[in-house]
């Protein structure tokens, strides 16, 4: 039997500091990951890779404490390595090796590996044939790295930018695999600088900026935590806004911004939208150009860091 992750979850990082010469890459970072999918989100240079690589045992913290599946990744590396799967941001394969050859090799380093042929099929690596790694496309190289991370049937998988450079179809296919991993009880910690990836995939999102976690929570909670959402519509000028407000929940605001252009702010959910349209129907108003601006992680990020997150 393997040790169950304790109350600290699969990953517990406290006060992590990592410096490269005079540059502080990670500056007192706290991060906890529970079973499921955790996304570490941040712009390039925020300290995502340094944090992940410290958890993988590649780097020794300058300060702070790191526990992965309850183990110290540096001093208890031998016990930890068989239990984790690692996908590096790039490389990791002999330039002259074929995809299936490398994957079979990784499988041989584990006691109970996945069926390599099925995994090759699942990730569409069969078409690589006898092509050596250096001649594979970027997408094929990414998928091979992902396959290498999961082939040993780990409890926890670290994926560093798993969809960087992938086309939309390959991205979705990678997302599907990550969801299958979660469904089968594998925990996933991934880094990304794509908002939609974090929103779509993660149970829990940690936003990193300048070497610190500035917010952590489920995508829903993070999006609710910031500014309110907005619903806009057009109608004839001079509608009775006070009457509309009476129909809406308490914490909602409504205003006619310019003649005939209305804005409702608050918790914009299907119920609110239905209330607004039925009020319009009762008053013989045809609401035009209805638009809903929901608060996204992108907005949250902008508010927290004052910066745009650019892919």
């Amino acid at each position: 039997m393997h040790q169950e992750p304790g109350a600290g979850g699969v990953l517990q990082v406290r006060g992590l500091v990592k410096r490269y010469g005079p540059k502080t890459a990670v500056d007192g970072l706290d991060l906890t990951a529970q079973p499921g999918i955790t996304a570490v989100l941040g712009p390039n240079g925020a300290g995502k890779t340094t944090t992940i690589e410290t958890c993988e045992g590649y780097r020794r913290p300058d300060a702070g404490e790191v526990r992965v599946l309850g183990l110290d990744p540096v001093t208890q590396a031998a016990a930890l390595r068989p239990r984790i799967g690692v996908m590096l941001q790039s490389g990791g394969v002999y330039s002259g090796a074929r995809a299936d050859e490398m994957l079979r090799h990784m499988a041989k380093l584990h006691a109970h590996p996945l069926d390599v042929d099925a995994l090759i099929e699942r990730l569409g690596l069969g078409s690589c044939g006898r092509t050596s790694y250096r001649r594979l496309s970027g997408g094929q190289q990414q998928r091979l790295a992902l396959a290498m991370a999961v082939v040993g049937r780990p409890e926890l998988v670290f994926l560093d930018e798993p969809t960087a450079g992938l086309d939309p179809q390959a991205r979705r296919s990678t997302w599907d695999l990550v969801r299958e991993l979660r469904a089968d009880g594998v925990s996933v910690v991934l880094t990304t600088h794509h908002m939609d990836e974090a929103e779509q995939l993660a149970d829990d999102v940690a936003i990193i900026d300048a070497g610190r976690v500035v917010a952590q929570g489920s995508p829903e909670r993070l999006c609710k935590g910031g500014a309110e959402n907005t619903l806009r519509f057009s109608g004839r000028p001079g509608l009775d806004v006070a009457s509309l407000l009476k129909a809406l929940p308490m914490d909602t605001a409504a205003a006619e911004l310019t003649p005939g252009s209305y804005r409702v702010t608050g918790t914009v959910d299907p119920q609110l939208l239905a209330t607004v349209t039925s009020w319009c129907a009762q008053h013989g108003v045809m609401p035009d150009r209805i638009s809903v601006e929901r608060h996204t992680l992108e907005d949250v990020f902008l508010e927290l860091t004052g910066k745009e997150l650019r892919a």
């Binding site: 984790i84 490389g91 330039s95 380093l109 040993g152």
Partner: protein, 266 residues
């Protein structure tokens, strides 16, 4: 494609069942992979197989260097020990340095460091891959040498000991280079060293063709110690050339210690 038709997407496929393979199996798999990578690489084969074979055939059959002046017998008896030494150098030093340098550059060493394979097991596998390649080289080169009329003397165990010591010395130096220089610098330097030692290390040109002052320095090189040591046994029937063995031990200790101290994995 539905989850039902694809076995890999069926629920439970990825259910964790972690564990390292037995370490012996990991080393065997790693050594087999590294040997395949080496034998598949055209440039490596040029260094490890084509050049030693060509030198042996060419210099044995065409009188380019005057071996008679040194009072030696047949050219092939002089050349074979030197070419065997060159073969060891080409695999343990040049080939290993270049391959390991690029493995480091392309993150292979980094990725393996996160796998269940311990570092010592990786080094054991690399050594094993070098030894397997050397056995193939020696089989090929001795077959060619016999076809050219080679008549070896001496104690096979002394030959084996010299080959092992030479492998250790060259491995240490090769890994030191691969672990400290950039991959491109390693590629250039390892090839340059190969060429210089081929000419100046008593492989095809007898050391006594060089000026006295140069001879005493060149004699201390690992390639000279290995080729002269092998020559003492195989050509002259010496029981055990302790001087040559001692020089190789010193190189092996220095090289491996420096590699262990300065090797950077990333």
């Amino acid at each position: 494609m539905s989850a039902d038709t694809n076995p890999a997407t069926a629920s439970g496929t990825y259910t964790p069942k972690p564990g390292a393979a037995p370490v012996g199996r990991m080393i065997a798999a790693q050594a087999a992979l590294e040997t395949r990578m080496l034998l598949r690489n055209g440039e490596q084969l040029l260094l490890t197989v084509v050049i030693p074979s060509l030198l042996l055939v060419l210099f044995s059959t065409v009188s380019i260097v005057d071996f008679g002046a040194t009072g030696e017998g047949k050219a092939v008896d002089f050349l074979t020990p030197g070419v065997l030494a060159l073969a060891v150098m080409s695999t343990a030093f040049t080939g290993q340095a270049i391959a390991t340098g690029f493995e480091r550059r392309y993150g292979v060493l980094k990725r393996l460091a996160a796998s269940p394979l311990p570092r010592w097991a990786l080094m054991a596998a690399k050594t094993l891959a070098v030894l397997v390649t050397e056995v193939l080289q020696i089989v090929l080169l001795t077959a060619i040498a016999f076809a050219l009329g080679w008549s070896p003397q001496g104690n096979p165990l002394a030959v084996l000991l010299l080959l092992v010591l030479g492998t250790a010395a060259f491995s240490g130096l090769g890994l030191l280079m691969a672990g400290t220089l950039k991959a491109e610098a390693t590629l250039a330097a390892a090839n340059l060293v190969f060429l210089l030692l081929l000419v100046g290390g008593g492989v095809v040109v007898p050391l006594d063709k060089f000026p006295d002052a140069a001879q005493s320095v060149l004699g201390l090189l690992p390639i000279s110690a290995l080729s002269d040591g092998l020559r003492d046994v195989l050509q002259h029937g010496a029981s055990m050339p302790w001087g040559a063995a001692g020089i190789l031990v010193v190189w092996a200790v220095l090289g491996l210690a420096a590699a262990a101290r300065f090797f950077r994995w990333e």
